[in-house]
Symmetry: none
Subunit: 407 residues, 2 copies
C-alpha cells in the first residue's frame, strides 16, 4: 500500500492532472466455458485504443482471495490498506445513505427486531419488514428526545436504519446491543473504555424510549444498535499526496468514503449518465482540481442482478461517452480505468478476482502488448498484478508528481 510517510516526503505540489475512473464491480467471468467476460464481450473501441496506446495490468483489491465490500475496496484504490484502515460498520451504513457525520459524531447501524412479552428476542430482523414500514417507524423514532444531544435517524432498507448522535464527548468504543441470537434479551449498550460511558448511557436512554414507542407494533417492537463508530480520521489527500481532489459519484456511499479521505464531493444529479459525470469531472479540472475520482455505479448493479448483457451495455455506454473526456481541452494527463472489485454476473455478487486496469498517460506510460481492454489481455500487462492500494503512487508517478527517492 501507499506508504504515507514516503508519499508525504516525495509528493510534489504540481504535475499532471489525474482521472481515476472506477467502474464499480468491473471484473467479470465468462458466462459460458470458453466465452468472453462482460468486459471482453463489450464493444469498447475507446477503451481498447487507450489500452493499446497505454499500459495495462490487474489489481488485487484487498489480498489474494478476499472479496471486498465497497468501502474497503475504495479505500484501497485511494491508497489505504483497508485491513489497516478500518471504517466502522456504523460509519459505512450512515455514509451509504448520505447522512452527515461530523468529526465528533457517532454513527450506528440499527435493526428493528421482535421481542416477546419478557423482552426476549424472537426475530433479530423483525420478519424483514418492508422498507416502507421501516420509514414509517423511523419517523416515530425521530420524536425521541435525549437532552443535550441530537439523534438523527434514517431508514436504510427493510429492517435496517442508521443513527447519528451529535453532541459533546462522544466515543465509538461501545459494544453492540444485538446479542447475535434469538432467545436472548438485547444487551445494554456497554462502554469498552471509560471515556465511552456517556455514549453508552445516551444509547440506553434512546433505546428505552424506542421500546416504549414501538411496544404496540408487530413485528417490529424493539431495536438493536450495532457497529458504533466515529470518523476514522484517515490521512487526507491534500496532506499525503498534495492533491486537490474531487469526487464525482452518484451514490452516497462513494461520496461518503471520498469525503473521509479529504476529497471535495461534487454535486451530481440522481440520473447522471456517464457523459454527465465526465462533463462534471472536466469542470473540476478546469476549476483547478488535480485529481478527480469518477465513479460509475451500474456495472456493479447489473452484475449483482446477474444480468450479463445489461452489464455489457453499461460498459459500452461508458465507452461511448469517453470522447467527451478525450476530446476536451481540459483532458487530464493521466487516465486510470479500473474497478474496485469484480462483480461477475454469474456470481450475482462481489468476488475476489483481480480487476483489469488500464493506465493511459502519453509521454510517461510504457506501452505493453495489450491491444484491448479485458481480463485476459490485462494478464500480460506491463503493470503486472499488484495490490490496489499501490495504484495511487503509480498514478502519481505517471503524472510526474513524485520526486526521486534517495540520491
Amino acid at each position: 500500500m501507499a506508504d504515507f510517510d514516503l508519499m508525504r516526503e516525495l509528493a510534489l505540489d504540481g504535475g499532471g492532472k489525474i482521472l481515476l475512473l472506477v467502474m464499480d464491480g468491473l471484473g467479470g467471468l465468462p458466462r459460458i466455458e470458453g466465452g468472453p467476460t462482460e468486459l471482453e464481450a463489450a464493444e469498447t473501441p475507446n477503451l481498447d485504443r487507450l489500452a493499446a496506446q497505454g499500459t495495462t495490468g490487474r489489481i488485487v483489491p484487498i489480498r489474494p482471495g478476499l472479496t471486498p465490500g465497497s468501502g474497503p475496496a475504495h479505500l484501497a484504490l485511494f491508497g489505504y490498506d483497508p485491513v489497516e484502515y478500518l471504517i466502522g460498520r456504523g460509519m459505512l451504513e450512515c455514509i451509504g445513505i448520505g447522512m452527515k457525520i461530523g468529526p465528533k459524531d457517532v454513527a450506528i447501524r440499527g435493526n428493528f427486531c421482535t421481542v416477546d412479552g419478557g423482552g426476549v428476542i424472537t426475530d433479530r430482523r423483525a420478519g424483514r419488514i418492508p422498507t416502507e414500514k421501516c420509514i414509517e417507524l423511523v419517523e416515530k423514532l425521530r420524536t425521541i428526545k435525549v437532552p443535550g444531544y441530537e439523534f438523527d435517524v434514517e431508514a436504510v432498507q427493510d429492517y435496517r436504519f442508521g443513527v447519528v448522535i451529535r453532541g459533546a464527548g462522544l466515543s465509538g468504543e461501545v459494544d453492540d446491543t444485538d446479542p447475535q441470537q434469538t432467545g436472548k434479551k438485547p444487551l445494554p449498550a456497554k462502554a469498552r473504555i471509560p471515556e465511552a460511558g456517556k455514549t453508552a448511557e445516551l444509547m440506553n436512554q434512546w433505546i428505552a424510549q424506542a421500546g416504549e414507542i414501538l411496544k404496540d407494533e408487530r413485528p417490529a417492537n424493539m431495536v438493536t444498535l450495532r457497529g458504533v463508530s466515529m470518523d476514522p480520521n484517515l490521512p487526507k489527500f491534500a496532506e499525503v499526496y498534495k492533491l486537490k481532489a474531487a469526487c464525482v459519484a452518484v451514490y452516497p456511499m462513494y461520496k461518503g468514503v471520498s469525503q473521509l479521505v479529504g476529497m471535495d464531493v461534487i454535486e451530481t444529479g440522481a440520473h447522471d449518465k456517464p457523459e454527465d459525470e465526465f462533463r462534471r469531472a472536466l469542470a473540476q479540472f478546469e476549476a483547478g482540481y488535480d485529481f478527480v475520482f469518477c465513479h460509475i455505479k451500474y456495472t456493479d448493479s447489473r452484475g449483482e442482478d446477474g444480468d450479463f448483457d445489461a452489464k455489457v451495455k453499461v460498459i459500452e455506454s461508458v465507452d461511448a461517452a469517453l470522447p467527451v473526456l478525450l476530446q476536451s481541452a481540459a483532458r487530464p494527463d493521466v487516465i486510470a480505468v479500473t474497478g474496485d472489485h469484480s462483480t461477475p454476473a454469474t456470481y450475482k455478487s462481489h468476488s475476489w478476482h483481480p480487476v483489469p486496469l488500464l493506465l493511459w498517460a502519453p509521454g510517461t506510460h510504457l506501452p505493453d502488448r495489450a491491444t484491448r481492454f479485458g481480463e485476459r489481455e490485462c494478464m500480460g500487462g506491463g503493470l503486472g498484478l499488484f495490490p490496489a492500494s499501490d495504484l495511487m503512487p503509480v498514478m502519481l508517478a505517471h503524472a510526474k508528481r513524485l520526486q526521486k527517492f534517495g540520491a
Copy 2:
C-alpha cells in the same frame, strides 16, 4: 501470507471441497538450452486439460531467491509464513522419521561424533558411519535410564539420530551441545531460560550415560545434541480456515508437518502409487473431509537423483492416475496442483525457482490463456506470481468458503 485473524473472521463453515495435490519438487529446468523442463517434457493430457479449462500461475515458496527445505515449503503451502512460523530442527528431524511427539515433549537432533582421550572432538560426524552402524548404536542408547523421563531414540541416517524426551516440565530453550568445530569438547547442555534448567540437566545426564556406553566404540564414541525444540503450537486448520482436513502422504516428514497444522493423517501404504493415494483422497471427501492434502514424493526424489527422464515418468504417472479423481462422483470442487519447491534434475537438489500452479474450479475460476501445464505456460497465468503462503485463501475463495471483507 494468510492473515490468520482475517481468515478466522472470514472463513465459512461450509462450501466446496478442496484438493491440494503437491508433487514434491515439481518445478524444473531445461536439460539442454532451448529444451523443455521435466514438466514440459512430460506427456500430461489430463493436467493440460485442467490447465486449459482452469487458471494458472506460479508460486514463490518462501521469498524470491530462497531455496526452501521441505518443512518450511509445506508450511507456506498451508498458509503459514515460514519465516514467521518456525518449526525447530529437532522437531523436523524427529517428525521426518515418524517419531510421535506430544505437545509437551522435546525433540532433538543427535549426532554421533569422535572424541580423543581428553574428550576433545576430532570428528563431528564420526567418520560418517553407515546407517546400519547408527541403528546398532541407537539400540544401545535406548538402554539409558533417566528416572521419571522417557528418552525415545531413533536412527535417522549415517551419523544422525533423533531423540524425543517425554515427561513433565520440559522446555525447548536449551542450547546445542555441538561446539560446531573440532578441537573443542562438546558443550554441556545449557538452558537459555530458567524454566529450561530441568531439561538441560536431563540432557546432561543422558549424554554422560551415552558417553559411558559408547566409550569403547570407534569412531562413534560420543554424541552431540542439537536443535532442541517443542511443538510450535501452530494455529490449526479447523480453527483458522474452518476446514476438516486430511493428509494423504507416504513419507513421515509430510505427515508430521500436516499433523502440526491440525490435519488428520490418513493411513497409507509404503508402496502406494498415485492412483492409490487418489483413491484414499476420494475416500476422505466421502467421509466428510473438506480439504485433502495429497503428497507425491517421487518427483523430488528423481530430481535429487539428477534423473531428468525418471522425473518426467513420475509426472506422467501422476497424470495417468488423474482420471481416478476426475471421474469420481466424490470429485472435489477445487483442485490445485503445484509443488512445494523446484527440484531441477540438473541441480540434483531443491532450488528457489517459482513453482508452476494450476487451479481448476469450474464456475469460480477465471480461465487464462494457458493451454498446457508447464513452467513457461504458467508465466502468463491468471493468478500471476505470488507467495505460496497466499495459496490457501485463493483456494478457499474458489471454494466459496470466504465471506466478504467489510461492507
